[in-house]
């Protein structure tokens, strides 16, 4: 019973972490109609930058955090300007492939700059666990979950109720029409990438604080995809629900099926769910249902 509860709670928190990573995807998609396959790599790039600031240059942690955030914002802007701006208006496939190229490129960059060794990230959150009844939950994960919920409320409000956010939404719906209405398309897209960069670093810090990491940790980017899809690629508020659903079902699958199938079910279960959801409701739970016209 206790272990079931443990699986559910931990699963939910891990799902919320995935939702935080997925939020980066969704914000870019919501503003620029680009699906960023390189999200996982940007996450670990943020983590490695934090490592450089705090371990290599041995700056205090709060300063390293601020620098890491700034650096990732700048990174997002650079990527947008150099790689995506030339491709405004290109077809979907080009955009998909360019982010895949970006994924490969950033992985190479990480390998060349930081090497393939294990890097230890200092704990940002206290290592004492949070006691929930008989269980001990990792404090970092709890903070991460709280951040996710807070960020999703913040961004939902931003995109739906502020002028800037509505402009970005309009740009996402159709670049041409937004241009003709006088909206600054380039600025919207740049802002989206900058925000996404910062979110990536935040999720990176929650993910790796206090642990050792290598470049292989970038797989979290792919693992967070089902959450983005389940929520619907345009819905930020839905991410929390989707994250919880996927996380809890992962936990349940691990608890019940791991002993039967000798493990590994947890990792692949979200993909099963994703496929089923896609077949029943292709735009996810809360995605926009666009009407295609000839």
């Amino acid at each position: 019973m206790i272990s079931l509860l443990s699986h559910i709670i931990n699963g939910a928190l891990i799902g919320l972490l995935f939702a935080l990573v997925a939020m980066g995807f969704v914000i870019i998609y919501r503003s620029a109609r680009v699906f960023n396959f390189a999200q996982g790599e940007i996450v670990i790039l943020g983590a490695f930058l934090f490592w450089t600031f705090s371990q290599y240059w041995e700056l205090p942690i709060w300063l390293s955090l601020i620098l890491a955030f700034c650096a990732s914002v700048v990174l997002g802007l650079i990527i947008e300007r150099v790689i995506l701006r030339p491709l405004v208006g290109e077809e979907l496939f080009a955009l998909v492939m360019v982010t895949i190229g970006l994924l490969v490129f950033i992985r190479g960059l990480v390998l060349v700059t930081w090497g393939a060794e294990v890097h230890f990230i200092p704990p940002v959150f206290s290592v004492k666990g949070v006691k929930v009844g008989p269980l001990m939950i990792d404090r970092g994960l709890v903070y991460g979950g709280a951040f996710t919920i807070f960020m999703s409320i913040l961004f939902s409000w931003f995109f739906n109720h502020t002028r800037l956010g509505l402009e970005m939404t309009a740009v996402a719906e159709d670049h041409q029409i937004a241009l003709s209405l006088g909206l600054n398309v380039k600025r919207s897209i740049a802002m989206a990438w900058a925000i996404s960069g910062a979110l990536c670093t935040l999720s990176a810090i929650v993910f790796v604080s206090g642990k050792g990491m290598t470049f292989m940790a970038a797989d979290i980017g792919l693992a967070a995809l089902p959450v983005a899809l389940l929520a619907g690629l345009e819905s930020i508020g839905g991410l929390v629900l989707a994250g919880l659903l996927i996380g809890v079902s992962m936990g349940l699958a691990e608890h019940f099926l791991d002993s039967v199938l000798q493990g590994g079910v947890g990792a692949v279960f979200p993909f099963f769910i994703m496929i089923i959801v896609l077949l029943i409701r292709p735009t996810g739970l809360f995605g926009w249902r666009t009407i295609e016209r000839i």
């Binding site: 496939f93 895949i100 190229g101 190479g108 060349v112 995809l225 896609l278």
Partner: protein
């Protein structure tokens, strides 16, 4: 596309033909002779390179039909290859079937697996489809580790003995070369025929605008599933040949990164033409070989080794990523398009257009 002066078509067949003039026939025959006699004068290195090249060509040509002609994003080609490899391995090991049966059978089994994901393509498009095919990779890896040991060896993988056909043993690089080259040539020839037929035209129609295609009476559901079926069939055959070449099949050999490389080859070569698939594969493989070959030598140059050994190899990833990005930004239609422009300008020279 203009034809050289004096060459014109009088029948439909002539219009659709790939080879129109007798110099072209001669070039083709010389080239085929060159390729088939490669083992006689090429060294071990060349043969090894060509073997993997032929196998990769089959998979990439299949991917081209799926992605370039039908417009369905497919990031799971490597998983489909894996299914073909396991199928061929299992059929040979457990049922002792001859290879002229197992290779097509492996292709069909992989095609069925691929068509399953193709069914998803009917409902979802674009990015969503890409994600579904990524899911195919994970599902494949998971399934192969969990299916019974007697069938697919689980973590041990399948070990195969060299296969033989009509008493001809395929146990060294040269004999494998002939097997792979002949099957590959056949499949590419088939691909060229496929894309010029009504099926090919239907696929292109579905790619360009599937709603409009549905209106004029093309069964979009059928053709989308068919494109995955064909692409996965090619991947399955490639996987079967791979199994017979390496003689060891393990699910960890078929990764998502391999699928990404295949798509990269398509982008570099140019989407939408078989020639593009071939050019892309050859160029990327040559690039990889170049780095592998010159890597240790470049590393020795003191400037690079002072940065740290292996920087050239690590840069391989950066290079591929750069290549993909640069091609998409500056040459989105790939090298095949560039080649066509060169051909055109040669034909209409000295006129500019």
């Amino acid at each position: 596309m203009t034809l050289p002066a004096g060459v014109y078509a009088e029948t439909y067949d002539q219009d659709q033909a790939l080879i129109r003039t007798w110099p072209q026939w001669i070039c083709l025959i010389c080239f085929m002779v060159l390729l088939l006699s490669l083992p006689l004068y090429g060294g071990g290195k060349v043969i090894g390179f060509m073997n993997v090249l032929w196998i990769t060509l089959i998979a990439v040509v299949g991917l081209q039909i799926n992605v370039g002609y039908a417009g369905q994003v497919n990031l799971g080609q490597s998983a489909f290859m894996g299914v073909g490899a396991y199928a061929a391995g299992a059929l040979t090991l457990h049922f002792d079937l001859p290879i002229w049966l197992t290779i097509p059978a492996a292709g069909v089994i992989a095609a069925l697996f691929g068509a399953l994901f193709g069914l998803a393509a009917v409902r979802v498009k674009g990015f969503y489809l890409a994600l579904t095919t990524i899911a195919a990779q994970y599902v494949f890896a998971f399934a192969m580790l969990k299916l019974p040991k007697k069938w697919f060896g689980q973590i041990q993988g399948l070990r195969l003995d060299p296969v033989s056909l009509l008493g001809f043993q395929f146990d060294d690089d040269v004999s494998i070369y002939y097997l792979v080259a002949s099957i590959s040539t056949l499949m590419i020839y088939g691909a060229w025929g496929l894309v010029r037929s009504s099926t090919g035209r239907a696929l292109v129609a579905v790619r360009d605008n599937d709603k409009a295609a549905a209106i004029i009476g093309i069964n979009v559901f059928y053709y989308k599933a068919l494109s995955f079926f064909i692409g996965a069939f090619y991947a399955g055959v490639a996987g079967a040949l791979w199994a017979y070449y390496i003689r060891y099949v393990l699910s960890e050999m078929f990764t998502l990164w391999l699928s990404v490389w295949y798509l990269g080859m398509l982008i570099v070569g140019g989407m939408g033409s078989i020639l593009g698939a071939i050019i892309g594969t050859v160029v990327i493989r040559l690039l990889q070989e170049f780095i592998t070959y010159f890597g240790p030598w470049i590393n020795q140059i003191s400037f690079f080794s002072s940065i740290g050994g292996g920087i050239i190899f690590s840069s391989m990833n950066m290079l591929l990523g750069c290549v993909i990005i640069l091609f998409i930004i500056f040459e989105p239609r790939g090298l095949a398009h560039r080649w066509n422009i060169i051909k055109e300008s040669y034909r209409i020279w000295p006129f500019p257009h």
